[in-house]
Amino acid sequence: MKIVTELFFSRARRCAGVASLFGASWSMALPVSLVLATVAFLTSATVAAPLARPSSPQDQPKVRAWLSAGVVKLGGQVVLNVEVEGTERGRLLSVPEVPGLAMGRPQGPHVQRSFQLLGGRSRNSITLSWSLAMRPSRAGEFTIPPLKVEVDGREVTTEALLLKAVEDLKGAELGVFEVRGLPEQVYEGQPFELELRFGWDRSLGIDRANLILPWWGSIPGLLEVEGQPASLAARYVEIRLNTRQNIRVEELPPEEVRGRPYRMFRLRRRYMATRTGELAWPGSTFEFGRVTERGGIGFFDARPDKVENFYVPLPERTSAVRPIPKEGRPFDYSGAVGTFQAAVSTDRRDVDEGESIKVTVTWSGDGNCEFFTVPDPSRLASFSDFRLYGTSERRRWDSTRVVFDLAPISSGVTEIPSIPLEIFDTTRERFTSVLTEAVPIRVRALAGAGGLEAAPGTSSHGLDIRDIQTTPVTVLERHALPAFWTPASFGFLLVCWFGGRTLVRRRGDPAAPAARRRRRARRVLARELRRSTDPAQRTRQLYAFLAARSGEAPGAWLGRAVDEWAEDNCAGQELVEAIGEFLLLVTNLEAGVWSARQLGSEVDKRDLLRAADRVLGAGL
């Protein structure tokens, strides 16, 4: 998903650049680029989706074709084999016609069911095969076109094959071609190394060589695995393989064969049989030759070189692949097949409890070192006093090295126990256990700590229920209210609020500045009287108080006749008297009747506030 996102935004950036090239501003380029990127992304996704669809080659049937021999003497017979693996529904659609090559009737299909073991994992397989005899009627090279096979309703073609027909297979006494390491019998999963040795008499002046191996890359049930790496000191030369390609082979020191010095070469490959049955090695041929007469040089003289070829055939061979027996197979069988040795080493042998020890175990030998499953010490009873922090593996064709990160959790541990690897020994032909040597170690207890193992007297920690509750609960229970009470109360509150709000708003907005000034008038008067020292300033505050309460301008009460105001506003007698007393205090204050002593006393301020409270209490 991250890759898809990055792909989209990279396209968006490119498209933004394209849009800006056509004069669009960046503000315009952004939406344009997004649209273009979307179109480009969807287009590429549509095109790329079928290409990027993951294929599962193991699930698809495999079709192969090979010849029983790549070189045949004129008048001899060669067999064309076609095999389909992984399905039981196959049909050979057509037999190609090759001029100069007489074809027989195809025989088959032959059905073979087998059991495969690869890397310790097993699966069943089914194979269909056809065979077709052919005989060349003239010398020369024949290209057999691809054969068409119908597999599960689909048409599949094989690769084209090359057959060489020669008048005489002479030369066996002038060259050498032999195979070493080809077993007559092998167990499934057991690797073996095949070595082809070939060469010719040095005095012949050979300048061309061709290995004709019809089985190269096409033997069913055979898997090429990593082999011994090439030596840096060895000398390598390139020769032809199956006339079509080149291959590097190792040149060996000259050898004396039949009393004559020979130039020798070697080709090594490592294989592993992956299914039981019979491995058929078609006949191979080593072809080498020399130029006896040079051809023309130039445009008007195109005569080819005259070449004398020699042939050394290798007869057809077979190898039997035997299954790993089921009898006596251990539960923890690792899948290892062959002969193995184990070596162990540690990075330290004197540790504290819980401290890590790197234990390196190397299993080597002649077997499938790349494929077996290494043992897990955490599943071994002998490692109960160890904690496994992790493992790391490094596999090669001839060895597997595993580093176990182990930590002893008890000071009573005295050694790292043996690690067993259950294998199938191909020399003894039975299951055996390859043990590492026990490594003595010293584990020191941690100072001031109880150790990592379980405390003495208790086997381990576990989970248990929490105890019963013995204290009776004596709280009084309150009955739950009916379910509707919350929405009902909420509705009731809303109705009350709306009604009250409407009533209050009939007298005006309570949040209006005049209404807020009226509510604050008493508090403002008390504050200002406390702050002021000037009688004139106090007089202004008293008038402002009256004006705020009556909702008028601050100067409205200067010289006002209270009786007339009361008559206009329908004020009661109590209010008129209270306002009269209040205004009398104001008048006296204006007239300077108050002595200096009285002006400064708190009692006089309280008299003023008391008069103001009387006015408020009377309803102003």
Binding site: I465, R466, L476, T486, S489, L493, G500, V504, D509, A511
Partner: protein, 261 residues
């Protein structure tokens, strides 16, 4: 005008107080409970379970006391190896006392031992559900009452004084009330009447009729919750989600409804 508003709010509060009036409950048979604890300590779990069962039959037990006895019954069932039954007792206890950490721990241990999914898997859905059902019904009512009082005060201020401050206070009070109402709603969702738990190890077959020969319509896995809609002496009729109600043997289920114990 002010007096009218105050009188309205005061009347509401009095009404709520009357509705949520506390009532004294008779004392639980504590002596019996102590005897049961003694039997439990002595390892006589069957005797302890019997005594706690008879204690549960007393009328007017406070919900918290009933929850405590359910918890102890669960422990007695666990000690006798009846893991599924223990899970049922703990579930019933949590319906009455949802914040008991001990009961939660025992329930999860019992469910894990029975191979059931945890009651609280720790994801967002379960966490929110546990928060919303963490109060008992009366506690949730108290929270909702508090929210209503605050809302009444805020609305009163807004009606009499107006202004931005009181309006914001009203909004906050409405939000508070919604949260407390969610609690109250969640507590009522938890207390589904007639709820039961399938405790049989092999689950329970849903039959079309209350007899063993009737056609099996399906199977309820162990640990499934269902609601009882009808009862016969040995059979109960259950409804699970929106599926048609079907009959199940009574021995296969465990009542979670406190009134049914």
């Amino acid at each position: 005008m002010k007096n009218i508003g105050l009188q309205g709010v005061g009347g509401l509060l009095v009404l709520l107080a009357l509705l949520s009036v506390s009532s004294a409950t008779p004392a639980a048979p504590f002596g019996q409970s102590d005897e049961a604890a003694t039997a439990y300590r002595a390892g006589d779990y069957s005797r302890a379970a019997e005594l706690w069962s008879s204690a549960l039959e007393a009328d007017g037990l406070p919900a918290a006391e009933r929850a405590r006895l359910y918890h102890n019954q669960g422990n007695a069932a666990w000690r006798r190896g009846r893991v599924a039954e223990a899970a049922g007792w703990y579930s019933a206890s949590l319906r009455l006392r949802p914040r008991s950490a001990d009961t939660w721990a025992n329930l999860e241990l019992a469910r894990a031992s029975a191979g059931w999914d945890p009651q609280d898997s720790g994801d967002l859905r379960d966490t929110l559900g546990r928060v919303c059902t963490s109060l008992t019904a009366s506690e949730a009512d108290g929270a909702a009452l508090l929210g209503l009082v605050l809302l009444a005060l805020a609305l009163l201020g807004e009606a009499l004084r107006g202004g931005v401050g009181w309006r914001r206070a009203s909004y906050a009070a409405v939000l508070l009330l919604a949260m407390s109402s969610a609690w109250a709603y969640g507590s009522r969702l938890r207390e589904v009447p007639g709820e039961c738990l399938v405790t049989s190890d092999d689950g329970a077959s849903l039959r079309s009729e209350p007899r063993r020969e009737a056609i099996s319509l399906g199977r309820l896995d162990p640990g499934t919750r269902a609601v009882i809609v009808d009862e016969l002496p040995n059979w109960v009729r259950l409804r699970v989600d929106d599926a048609p109600a079907s009959w199940v043997e009574r021995a296969k289920i465990f009542h979670l409804d406190s009134s049914s114990q």
